[in-house]
């Protein structure tokens, strides 16, 4: 017991000093913190519930990705067979049941067609997995069935792109330090600290921003269009702001030019009526295409289509050759600006919906921090007083351990760049309460051994030895609960579990190892014959 070699003392003291020092940068005001050398810049981050801000969980529908892939595949097959060389004549391509199926008109060409389609179905991955299985049914019908692996890869890629697009959009908004993380296979978490009103952000993220220009089918019969029937080669799209009052319009299926060929988009004003508009600029190829189509269709209207809805259908007064164009619609300055941002940052490969949103105003966050600090201070004071009254000198040692423990927990959290949330503060306060448990166990055991008539020295030695085993087992089970919370918990539960787990580890160390050192140093110096405990 008394044998506490000097190196051990050094090890214990220096480990605790390091732990406490790690917590120091957290207490610096932001201005000073930012001037610290980078290796000192490790601090505990505040969760959104404390700093204020928005947490938004976005979800993509994998079925939609699958559907898009099918459409792309259909286009590729059509191009390859109908336009490739030699031409292979096929019937209509059906997209029923998530499969592509079509007839080859000349049965002798079936094998050749399969041969030509195969390369298209090779997955991008290195696994050699095909994206589609190609089969011949009834000797003349070719069926392409998407494989699950292919769909998974496509969803994964779409989500990666979506994450980048979101990142660009939020940066364009000028919001500081957003956190954007992919979660699971088809979700993205966006956290923006300090954001008070997430409506704007949600609108921005909710826009797929798929922009297309198509010619209006002026030959379509208005009565049929109103009933939703389109002529061959055209489609009916919703047009909420149609001046004619009919909320739909018939447009040609073929895309004149699309948003992919944009290089810039800015909010501006129409020179004639001063309405907010979005000015866009095409890249070289896009500009040439737009120029060609507009020269061929002077005095006919074209439709500006965003996410499947027609914004406006202006008339082509003259060929538009400069590679720039103007998107008019029923905009306010703000919505025009949002659309410009969305267009600049590219279209989302898949529509995202908000499935969860949590916003905490900065006032509530500040309140929570304040009350959290007050509660922690009062809890600490109450526990310290109580421990001192109950165990005297031994209580003081335990108290020193508790106070050091508080800073070490913060230090470890800073080192791990962990986030402190409101439930985390609760975990903190709880840890203060349970941290003394180890010392209570030791001290009660020492009392007991004294009552049984052991000498002071033996009682202390036995107290620590017997109690250490109990403390270890009790904390293992406690850590099991904490670990499960950490793995399965989301948001607040996780924040709580982090503090609890760190607290369990550090409190056992400070309460058992550190106080034991203090007690043994004291005993060695004073050789007490009686102890008050």
């Amino acid at each position: 017991m008394l044998d506490f070699p000097r190196w051990k003392i050094w090890l214990i003291v220096s480990s605790l000093v390091v732990g406490v020092l790690l917590s120091v940068p957290t207490f610096f005001p932001e201005r000073i913190y930012n001037q610290l050398p980078s290796f000192l810049q490790a601090k505990v981050n505040l969760g959104l519930d404390l700093s204020g801000g928005s947490h938004i969980l976005l979800e993509a529908n994998p079925a939609e990705v699958a559907k898009q892939r099918l459409e792309n595949m259909e286009e590729q097959v059509r191009t390859e067979l109908r336009r490739g060389d030699p031409k292979i004549a096929i019937g209509d391509i059906s997209r029923r049941d998530g499969k592509l199926a079509f007839m080859v008109r000349d049965p002798s060409q079936v094998d050749a067609a399969v041969e030509r389609i195969r390369p298209l179905t090779q997955g991008a991955g290195l696994t050699g997995q095909r994206d589609f299985n190609v089969e011949v049914v009834d000797s003349s019908t070719i069926v392409l069935t998407p494989t699950q692996a292919g769909i998974d890869t496509a969803v994964n890629q779409a989500m990666d792109v979506a994450k980048e697009v979101i990142d660009r959009r939020i940066n364009e908004m000028g919001t500081r330090e957003p956190t954007i993380i992919r979660q699971g296979s088809n979700r993205i978490v966006v956290q923006v600290p300090g954001l008070q009103d997430p409506a704007e952000l949600k609108n921005l993220l909710g826009q797929t921003a798929k922009l297309e220009f198509k010619l209006v089918d002026i030959g379509a019969n208005p009565a049929e269009v109103a009933q939703g029937r389109a002529p061959v080669g055209s489609e009916i799209l919703p047009y909420p702001d149609n001046p004619s009052g009919v909320p739909v319009i018939a447009v040609k299926r073929q895309v004149m030019v699309s948003g992919e060929e944009l290089i810039d988009a800015q909010q501006g004003f129409d020179q004639q009526n001063n309405q907010p508009v979005v000015n866009i600029r095409f890249n070289g190829a896009g500009g040439r295409k737009f120029g060609r189509v507009t020269s061929e269709n002077v005095n006919r209207p074209f439709a500006i289509i965003l996410d499947g809805k027609v914004l406006s259908a202006p008339n082509i007064n003259e060929p538009i050759l400069g590679g720039s164009a103007q998107i008019s619609g029923n905009f306010t300055v703000k919505t025009a600006d949002q659309l410009a941002i969305a267009l600049r940052s590219g279209k989302l490969p898949v529509a995202l919906t908000v499935v969860e949103e949590r916003t905490v105003g900065p006032d509530l966050g500040a309140d929570s921090i304040r009350s959290g600090i007050i509660a922690s201070a009062i809890a600490t004071a109450a526990v310290l007083t109580f421990m001192f009254l109950s165990y005297g000198r031994f209580g003081l040692y335990a108290n020193l351990a508790v106070v050091i423990n508080i800073f070490v927990i913060l230090g470890v959290m800073a080192l791990m760049n962990a986030t402190l949330t409101l439930p985390g503060i609760a975990g903190f306060v709880l840890t203060i309460g349970t941290a003394v448990d180890a010392n209570v166990l030791v001290n009660e055991r020492i009392r007991e051994e004294r009552r049984r008539g052991r000498s002071v020295l033996q009682s202390i030695e036995f107290g620590y030895k017997e109690a250490s085993r109990t403390i270890f087992e009790a904390n293992v089970t406690h850590a099991i609960a904490g670990g499960i919370m950490f793995m399965l918990g989301s948001g607040p539960v996780k924040g709580f579990a982090v503090v609890l787990l760190i607290g369990i580890a550090t409190s056992v160390y400070t309460a058992v190892v550190f106080t034991r050192m203090l007690v043994s140093l004291w005993v060695r110096r004073h050789r007490p014959t009686e102890i008050h405990i």
């Binding site: 509660a375 306060v429 709880l430």
Partner: protein, 324 residues
């Protein structure tokens, strides 16, 4: 200086003799808790049922009836109002609009904000939560799974470490704690949200900790007093650890008390759950899990067999401490 002692030295309370009464009372209370959950149900937060929650802080205490009228007049669905924390703060719960995606829920929030700002100048909106039905379903699943895994995991741990009787008695006692906590929420109709799951898991962790300490002492005494009657032995162990049980509960309650009073309104339900859990957990350590060991037929012999294996595995350390 005279030191504070909450429990006198050498208590000798006959806990085991009371076990029949304690079991009956415990069973009754647990049934009552389950019935309360069944009849009244839990007041689920938006986390678990989905929906939209707006928390507003007014400059003075608003009239709830007027506020309810104002919100009902917006035609955004049936609102539920609840005073939250201080008298000026009200949480407004609304169903999520069934279609229209985020645009629609944004519109609801905007409508409520506009109306309240007009009728109650100076109001600020401190929090919004929107949780879709899909996500809330997953949160329920995960929460239930987490609690079940924790309880089972810990019971298995104590079964491997000790005899099976310890595993079973711990499992029963923990289930009792969890059910009592749920009953508390059913009776008080405090909001049951994600934070409460964390509280329940903490109660599980704490309660286990408490039982481990007593179980550990029982095993120690089983090795020490091989001839002692099991009832007397358990009584002795519970009495010996009683000062620690009470001390630790008190320190934790002191800390939680500070959190309840000063920790702000967001954490209030969480803290209340935890305080109740500490009381229930301490009770079940003393009256349920230890006494149950006897009913499960734990004998010193069964402990000897397992401890031999454990001791060999652990080396001589334990045998060395066996001498007194």
């Amino acid at each position: 200086m005279r030191l504070l002692k909450l429990v006198p030295d050498n208590t000798n309370i006959g806990f085991v003799a009371m076990r029949k009464w304690a079991f009956a009372l415990t069973a009754l209370l647990t049934l009552a808790a389950v019935a309360a959950v069944g009849v009244r149900g839990l007041h689920m937060g938006v986390d678990f049922v989905g929906g939209l929650m707006i928390e507003a802080r007014f400059t003075e205490k608003p009239s709830m009836d007027k506020l309810r009228g104002d919100i009902d007049s917006l035609g955004v669905g049936n609102g539920t109002l609840q005073q939250f924390g201080d008298p000026n703060t009200v949480s407004i719960r609304l169903p999520l609009p069934e279609e229209g995606g985020e645009g629609a829920s944004n519109a609801v929030v905007a409508k409520v904000k506009a109306e309240l700002t007009k009728s109650y100048p100076g109001v600020i909106f401190t929090r919004y939560d929107t949780v879709s039905g899909k996500v809330s379903g997953e949160l329920v699943q995960k929460g239930v799974l987490a609690v079940m895994l924790a309880v089972i995991g810990i019971a298995i741990f104590s079964w491997f470490r000790y005899e099976w009787q310890f595993g079973v008695s711990t499992f029963v006692a923990i289930m009792h704690d969890v059910l009592m906590t749920l009953g508390f929420f059913a009776i008080t109709q405090l909001e049951f949200d994600l934070n409460i799951i964390a509280a329940v898991l903490t109660i599980v962790g704490y309660s286990i900790n408490d039982k481990m300490v007593i179980d550990d002492r029982i095993r120690e005494n089983m090795r020490k007093y091989r001839k002692m009657d099991m009832k007397a032995l358990i009584d002795l162990s519970v009495n010996e650890t009683l000062p620690r049980t009470v001390m630790t509960s008190v320190t934790v309650m002191l800390a939680l008390g500070a959190l309840l009073i000063f920790g702000g309104h967001v954490l209030r339900g969480f803290t209340a759950a935890m305080m109740l859990g500490i009381v229930v957990g301490t009770y079940s350590s003393v009256y349920v899990s230890s006494s149950l060991l006897i009913s499960l037929g734990l004998t010193p012999e069964s402990a000897m067999r397992k401890s031999k294996v454990a001791d060999v595995a652990k080396g001589a350390e334990r045998i060395g401490s066996n001498e007194g």
